[in-house]
């Protein structure tokens, strides 16, 4: 026999945009507070509301929509809920946003009609695309576009705002991957650098065709510069693989700190003044034109200081190959500030340049055994999901993300400096690598990993191939059997090697 309290709430099932949604109708609205009543009512239907919200809205908005709907079952949105949640809830139900006076005074009846202070119809808030999406943006027109495609498309069409350009100018995942992963995760630096190159390569390849189609990237501009960068990046990769790891780690730390300072102090875009090509630029036909939808004009551009550009791209390519960085942070200023290419052409051509330069340097790392980088960096769908998340963050909070990026890079740089200056602990991995190489495996095993394997074995556990492969011990042959052999080899090394003496610092 249901209680009298339970009978007061009768769930009603209806159709909301094709989704079945249950809604609570209260027969005896005698609760003193609208907010308390709403909370009581929504307690029954939390799960249903969340399902409806997730079906209709973006994942980040769904929770807020359900919360707002719980807080105000009658459609009146309380001031205590966030504006975004309010709009999301309104989109779920009526298509009209109402912002009201908030929670009624204690003792008032919930059934009493309340007036909305402001009423807005969704779909009328057409803001500038790429402008600041704040509280007035309409979510009714939100479409679940793939964020990376969306952002690249908007960049190509020149519809990104000033904040987006400043926040995302060449600062992609490629420049963040190596410092952060090498500083805060226990992977060997050689392995991380190879993965970083493939990581940056995978990110820029996707946008290449669209950039070329919209003439935001110029092959005539890119090919000569990319050749210089490509040769230098191969040289950088060879030099980096022959350097002691601790010295490389120290240099990486210093470089990352310098990059963070460069990003923080970066100026606005170069003004579009009329320039004349120099002789080399004219000979290489480094000029073009594109339609700028933001300015509603056709921009005729050309470059100068071509020789200095070659030098800059050579240096950028060397650093990129040496540290495995995607060098968009430097390509865009070199093209825009040094060679006076328009910013949109600089951004588009930078992506194309990275895809050309990194493809050569990545092969050096792959040939030296960092094949797992190619396995994971390019084809891992989680990588694309992370990029999509980054693109969405960049769209909503570009200035904040930029600050976070700078702080993260500074922290990673300091950490890399500290790790690089640790007394000789890194170079021991080279010793272990030499132990493994006669057995046919190229090892990227850090001392901490070998020590962990030893502890693991002492605990009586078997070394599984997947875990050992994940830890960076990988044969040049990428087959599963070879990975298993490498894993066994790593376990054998962990068993046979004595604990190094006289080493005070742990990696």
């Amino acid at each position: 026999m249901p209680s009298r309290r339970a009978l007061r709430r009768v769930p009603q099932v209806g159709e909301v945009r094709g989704c079945r949604a249950a809604r609570c109708i209260r027969r005896a609205p005698r609760r003193p507070s609208g907010a308390a009543a709403a909370a009581d009512c929504a307690r029954v239907l939390d799960g249903t509301l969340e399902i409806v919200a997730e079906a209709l809205l973006a994942p980040g908005q769904a929770g807020g929509a359900a919360l707002a709907e719980r807080a105000s079952p009658g459609g009146m949105l309380c001031s205590t809920t966030s504006t975004r949640a309010s709009r999301a809830a309104a989109a779920m139900s009526s298509g009209v946003i109402r912002t009201g006076t908030g929670i009624p005074p204690r003792g008032s009846r919930r059934a009493r009609p309340r007036e909305a202070i402001e009423e807005r119809t969704l779909g009328e808030q057409h803001r500038e695309v790429g402008g600041e999406l704040r509280h007035n943006a309409s979510i009714a027109e939100w479409k679940p576009l793939p964020p990376l495609v969306d952002l690249a498309d908007r960049a190509v069409r020149g519809e990104l705002s000033h904040r987006h350009r400043r926040g995302g100018r060449g600062i992609g995942g490629g420049v963040l991957f190596v410092p952060i992963v090498a500083s805060f995760f226990p992977f060997h630096l050689d392995f991380v650098r190879g993965a970083g190159l493939v990581f940056a390569l995978a990110g820029t390849l996707a946008a290449g065709p669209m950039l070329l189609r919209n003439r935001m990237a110029s092959l005539r501009l890119v090919m000569p510069l990319a050749l210089a960068g490509s040769i230098a990046s191969v040289a950088g990769a060879v030099v980096g693989l022959s350097m002691p790891t601790d010295a490389l780690q120290t240099a990486l730390g210093a470089t990352v700190i310098a990059i963070a300072v460069l990003i923080a102090a970066s100026k606005d875009a170069y003004g579009q003044a009329a320039i004349e090509s120099d002789a080399l630029g004219a000979a290489l036909r480094m000029r073009g034109d594109f339609e700028d939808p933001a300015a509603h004009a056709r921009i005729d551009w050309r470059t100068h200081r071509t020789l200095a550009g070659f030098g800059a791209f050579g240096a950028i390519g060397f650093l990129g190959g040496l540290f495995g960085l995607g060098a968009g942070f430097a390509n865009v200023p070199a093209l825009n500030l040094l060679m006076a290419a328009p910013l949109k052409v600089a951004v588009g051509s930078s992506g194309l340049t990275i895809s050309i330069i990194n493809s050569s340097a990545a092969w050096v790392y792959i040939n030296r055994g960092a094949r797992a980088a190619a396995d994971r960096g390019a084809v891992d769908p989680r990588h694309h999901a992370r990029r999509a998340l980054g693109a969405r963050l960049l769209r909503t909070l570009p200035a904040t993300v930029r600050r976070v990026v700078i702080v993260a890079m500074l922290m990673a740089g300091v950490r890399a400096l500290l790790r690089g200056s640790a007394c000789g602990s890194r170079s021991r991995s080279r010793v272990y690598a030499r132990w493994l190489e006669p057995h046919g495996a190229v090892a990227f095993v850090s001392p901490s990993r070998v020590r962990a394997l030893r502890v693991w074995r002492a605990a009586g556990r078997t070394c599984r191939s997947s875990t050992a492969a994940l830890w960076g011990c990988r044969s040049p042959n990428t087959s599963r059997a070879a990975a298993r052999r490498s894993a066994g080899l790593a376990a054998a090394v962990a068993r046979r090697l004595p604990e190094p003496r006289g080493v005070a610092c742990s990696p």
């Binding site: 005539r220 000569p224 050749l227 040769i231 050096v364």
Partner: protein, 36 residues
């Protein structure tokens, strides 16, 4: 795939740019073959 893309693009480029692209192909081939 990259090489195929280069071979498709090279005939469309001016002569000097095509030479750069060809040099880029050689660099890529050298990197792939493990000569460096």
């Amino acid at each position: 795939m990259t090489l195929v893309c280069y071979l498709r693009v090279i005939p469309l480029l001016p002569r000097l740019q095509a030479a750069f692209a060809l040099a880029q192909v050689l660099v890529l081939l050298a990197a792939i073959s493990g000569l460096v």
